[in-house]
């Protein structure tokens, strides 16, 4: 009995010791983390990351350069914001206009084109808006609008690269996107504020149309089997990815050297081949198109 009590007696102290050890562990961890020389922070978009491409190719960069890459997948806006704040060293996103802006503002050093995939317009199998057979994407969007009484359109609504592209396409087709967005109360245009996968799933449930990148659609094909591709192939629908090393002038902590090495690496012939050969379910996801 006495022995047992003595053990209990020490529990209080044990808890304190454990706490102290954790704190010490954290301090050590922090010390290691604070040496950022061999760590590259890559900010990219969820759609890029979710395709699985980076998990496939990034280990090659880590091995070749003997560094670690921290890949952070966020919305396009957030990824660019990370770069502006100096929290990322290199950015891989797909919103060309915004990327140019980023470089012009002096946050990015330069921009290389890396690859593209295609946006496609998906919708319920029977295509109630009759988008199939449209001459170009403008016509397809016009047909959507004409049939707004009987269809649903699901928009990302999250300021992502895809959402930005969708806005452009509405404007190019001669509509005022703000006005369409304000028709949300009429229920045909749904601004979801969700990621690509969730948007496709919602469209599938609601028998709605959606603009999606082909990669995400292919990877989710099984789940959203009620959706078919009704329009694709227009030059306007190419989804161009760019890589930008963040400028060290803006923030001295940015690992610009590694960032530039990453940019050169991803546009190298070898890696471009890897991108071209990345296949999911028998379909090619990205087309490499770097011009060096």
């Amino acid at each position: 009995m006495v022995g047992i009590r003595k053990v209990q007696h020490r529990k209080f102290i044990t808890v304190l010791v454990v706490l102290a050890l954790i704190t010490a562990g954290l301090a050590a961890w922090w010390y290691i983390e604070s040496k950022r020389d061999d760590i590259l922070v890559l900010a990219t978009t969820t759609s890029t990351y979710d395709s699985g491409l980076l998990d496939e190719i990034v280990p090659d960069f880590e091995e070749t350069y003997g560094v670690r890459v921290k890949t952070i997948a966020m919305g396009t806006g957030q990824a660019l914001e990370l770069g502006r704040n100096g929290d990322a060293d290199v950015i891989l996103v797909h919103a060309p206009e915004r990327e140019e802006e980023f470089v012009e503002e002096g946050y990015g050093k330069y921009r290389y084109e890396v690859m593209y995939n295609e946006f496609v317009l998906v919708g319920p199998e029977d295509d109630p808006a009759g988008v199939r057979g449209s001459q170009d994407v403008s016509e397809a969007f016009n047909r959507l609008y004409e049939n707004r009484g009987s269809i649903t359109f699901c928009s990302r609504g999250d300021d992502s690269g895809t959402h930005i592209k969708e806005i452009e396409l509405w404007e190019d087709a001669g509509f005022d996107h703000d006005e369409i967005d304000s028709q949300a109360h009429s229920h045909w245009y749904k601004s979801l504020g969700q990621g690509m996968g969730d948007t496709l799933r919602t469209a599938n449930e609601l028998d709605g149309y959606a603009l999606t990148d082909e990669a995400t659609y292919i990877s989710l094909k099984e789940e959203v089997s009620g959706l078919d591709i009704h329009f694709s192939g227009d030059q306007e629908l190419f989804n161009q990815y760019g890589v930008i090393p963040v400028c060290e002038n803006m923030n001295p902590n940015v690992n610009n050297e590694l960032g530039e090495e990453f940019a050169s690496w991803i546009v190298s012939e070898e890696v471009q081949d890897m991108i071209d050969n990345y296949i999911i379910d028998g379909e090619k996801i990205f087309t490499a198109n770097a011009q060096i």
Binding site: L19, W30, D50, T71, I72, G86, N253
Partner: protein
């Protein structure tokens, strides 16, 4: 996949247990002091603490991000996108819960226990320890609730951790990722692992609740 799962699980436990312990190390003494002493404005502090229970995780994440960003005041520590940042974010969320619940369970027993301990010859420190021990059912429940919130939380750790594979990916952020990727089965497995982890931790804490700690 298996080693991924193991890494994610271990990191989840490490981050949430550390956050809960570190927050408890501050919140339990603070809650005890607040429960033991009647001071001016206690009700205001109480209400304020209870309000913080509803602190939105993403806002906590955003605040910690702005704090730790290279442009933020603590940017030079290079803590952003590390487990340490995630621990910090979870601490912020869990701290008011543990403080508030400790305070209310201590104040429930404080009067009687304080007097009994003092008449039996306890000094101030021993009295506080006795009160805490007598309130342990409530205090350990507080820690359990805190841990539950920490390990189930996703918005804040996603923001400040970045969901980086092999580095800051925890169970909840992995669930978000796998759901987004359409791997529903794997997401459900992760969910089951999360619940199992919580169950084990609760079971361990429950033993303390029953037995208590000797002065």
């Amino acid at each position: 996949m298996a080693s991924d799962l193991l890494h994610v699980t271990v990191l989840s436990i490490f981050v949430s247990v550390s956050a809960t312990l570190l927050a408890s190390a501050m919140a339990v003494p603070l809650g005890t002091v607040m429960g033991l002493h009647k001071f001016r404005g206690r009700e205001v502090v109480k209400t304020f603490t209870y309000t913080l229970y509803g602190f939105p995780p993403v806002v906590a994440g955003l605040l910690i991000y702005l704090l730790l960003s290279q442009r933020g005041p603590l940017g030079s520590l290079n803590l952003l996108f590390t487990p340490a940042a995630m621990i910090l974010a979870q601490m912020v969320l869990v701290f008011p819960i543990i403080t508030g619940l400790t305070m209310s369970s201590v104040s429930q027993v404080a009067g009687e226990v304080k007097e009994t301990a003092m008449t039996l010859g306890a000094d101030r420190w021993q009295t506080a320890k006795t009160v805490l021990n007598e309130a342990r059912i409530g205090v350990i429940s507080a820690i359990m609730v805190g841990f539950g919130r920490a390990i189930a939380e996703v918005g804040a750790v996603l923001m400040v951790g970045g969901n980086i594979r092999w580095h800051t990916r925890v169970l909840t952020t992995a669930i978000v990722l796998e759901t987004r990727r359409g791997n529903f089965e794997y997401a459900l497995v992760l969910g089951a692992v999360l619940l199992t982890v919580a169950l084990i931790v609760f079971f361990v804490l429950k033993r303390y609740q029953d037995k208590g700690v000797k002065i």
